[in-house]
Symmetry: C2
Subunit: 252 residues, 2 copies
C-alpha cells in the first residue's frame, strides 16, 4: 500500500450494528412485483439509488452502464404489452400442473410500480481494449449486473421494492426505450415504495422450488472438495452467528 | 399481497443509521489486490459471507451458483501462474505510456490473500426450462454475478477486502479447480482481512480513467431523455443528501 493510499483509506471497521444492517438488506431484499404503494419516489431518493448503482465495481473502471429512469406511463404500457406477449409464450413451455402454477404467479409490476429503471451496458465505452476484459470478454456486462444488485440493496434500505422483469424480449425493450443497437440491455426493473418485503421469495413460498442448503453449494479447494471439512460442518448446522434468526433448515 | 405474505413480511423500515450502513458498504467497497493482513478468515465469518452470496436474487429461484473456497496454496499458485501468463499477453495490448502504466498496476492478490473464492454457474440446474430465462437466456449468469456483489459488500462489512481477478483464462481456472466443462465460471476473487479500503478506486487514483459524472449516465423515459428534467438538475449538483461527504465533483 503506497503512501497516498495510506492517507486516503477507510480503515475504521464496521460496527456490529452497521454490519448487521448490511446483512439485513441482503437477506430482506426481494424480487418485488406487487405490494407497491401509491406514493411517488422523491428525486432525492432516486438520486441516492442511482448513485449507489454508479458506485458498483467495473472492469478497468469502465463504468459501462447507463440508467434509464422510466416514469412515463405510455412507455411503461408499451413495455407491459411486451411482457404480456412474452409471458404467453413462456407459459406454454411448462407442462401440466407446472403451467397452471406458472400462470398463477405475478411476474411483473410494470404498471403498478411508479418507476421503471433500465440498466444498459455500452461495451465500447473508453475504447476497444479494456483493462481486465482482455481474457474474460463478458466482464463489462457483469459490471453492469453488479450495478443492478447495488440498486436492489439500496432500494431495500430505502423501503423501495424492485423486481427484475426478464420475461420480455430485449428487442421490445430496445424499441420502447429507443436504445441504440450497439448498447446491450442488461435489466429492466420495476421500482417503488412497498408495504413490506415478503419474508421468503415468492417462488419459494409458492412451492416452485425450495432454497438449496448452503452446504450443498460450497466446495473447498476444487470442484470435488466437500466432505470432512470444518467449514462444511459449520455450514450444515442450522444456526451460526447471524443477524437473521428464525429461518428453517432450508433457509441456509 | 395475499394473506400469507402479509403475515410473513418484513415491514419495518430501515433506520437512518441502517440505511447509511448499507450505503457505507456500497461506497467503501473496493476491488482489493493489496493491503491484505496476515490473519486467517475464521470459518464463522466465511460462512456469513457465503450465506450472503447464497441469498442473492436468482432467476426462477434457480440458485445456479456454486462457491469454491480456495485455501490450498498449491492451487492458488497454479492460478497465480495462469494470471502471470494472461497478464503478459494483456500488457502488450496497450501502447506506449499506457502500457507502462498498465505494467505498474497491481492487478491481483492471489497469493497475498489467504483465500480465493470461485463463483460458478450451473446453467442446467433444475432442468432446461427456467422461469424468467425464457426470453433472456443469460439471466442465470447474471444471477451468479449478483451473488458476487453480495459477497463483495458483505466482505466490506466484515473488514474483508476482495478483488475480482479477471486477467486469467477461464480454461486455466477450470483446470486448476477441476471444474466440469458444463459449468460456467463467473468469477475468481481473492479475499482476506485488509488494513484499509482506499478512499478511491486504484484505477481512478492512478489516473487510468476518471469517474464519470452521475448525471451523464442517467436518462429519463428513453435513451434520448436527459435535459431539463428536475432529476438531472439534482444529479448535476455537487451534493445531495448522502451518507458520504467530501467527494469531489467527479465523485458523483
Amino acid at each position: 500500500m503506497d503512501a497516498v493510499a495510506c492517507t486516503e483509506a477507510f480503515a475504521d471497521p464496521f460496527t456490529d450494528a452497521e454490519r448487521d444492517a448490511v446483512y439485513r438488506a441482503i437477506f430482506e431484499r426481494r424480487d418485488i412485483r406487487a405490494q407497491f404503494l401509491d406514493r411517488p419516489v422523491p428525486d432525492a431518493v432516486l438520486a441516492r439509488l442511482l448513485r449507489a448503482a454508479h458506485h458498483a465495481p467495473s472492469v478497468g473502471f469502465m463504468q459501462p452502464w447507463d440508467f434509464i429512469v422510466v416514469r412515463d406511463r405510455g412507455v411503461r404500457q408499451a413495455i407491459h404489452a411486451a411482457f404480456t406477449r412474452a409471458n404467453a409464450e413462456a407459459a406454454v413451455r411448462f407442462e401440466g400442473e407446472r403451467q397452471t402454477t406458472y400462470r398463477s404467479l405475478k411476474l411483473e409490476g410494470i404498471l403498478e410500480a411508479p418507476l421503471g429503471i433500465c440498466v444498459t451496458c455500452d461495451r465500447s465505452r473508453n475504447g476497444p481494449v479494456v483493462l481486465g476484459r482482455t481474457h474474460q470478454a463478458d466482464m463489462d456486462l457483469y459490471s453492469a449486473v453488479c450495478a443492478v444488485q447495488n440498486l436492489w440493496l439500496a432500494g431495500r434500505a430505502e423501503g423501495i421494492g424492485m423486481g427484475w422483469v426478464s420475461i420480455v424480449s430485449r428487442a421490445d425493450l430496445r424499441e420502447a426505450l429507443g436504445i441504440p443497437q450497439e448498447i446491450e440491455i442488461i435489466a429492466y426493473l420495476c421500482a417503488g415504495f412497498v408495504s413490506g418485503f415478503p419474508a421468503r421469495p415468492d417462488l419459494e413460498r409458492k412451492g416452485w422450488l425450495p432454497r438449496l442448503a448452503l452446504k450443498d453449494v460450497v466446495r473447498v479447494d476444487g470442484w470435488q472438495g466437500r466432505e470432512g471439512d470444518a467449514l462444511h460442518r459449520l455450514l450444515g448446522q442450522r444456526f451460526f452467528p447471524s443477524p437473521l434468526e428464525g429461518e428453517g433448515e432450508d433457509g441456509w
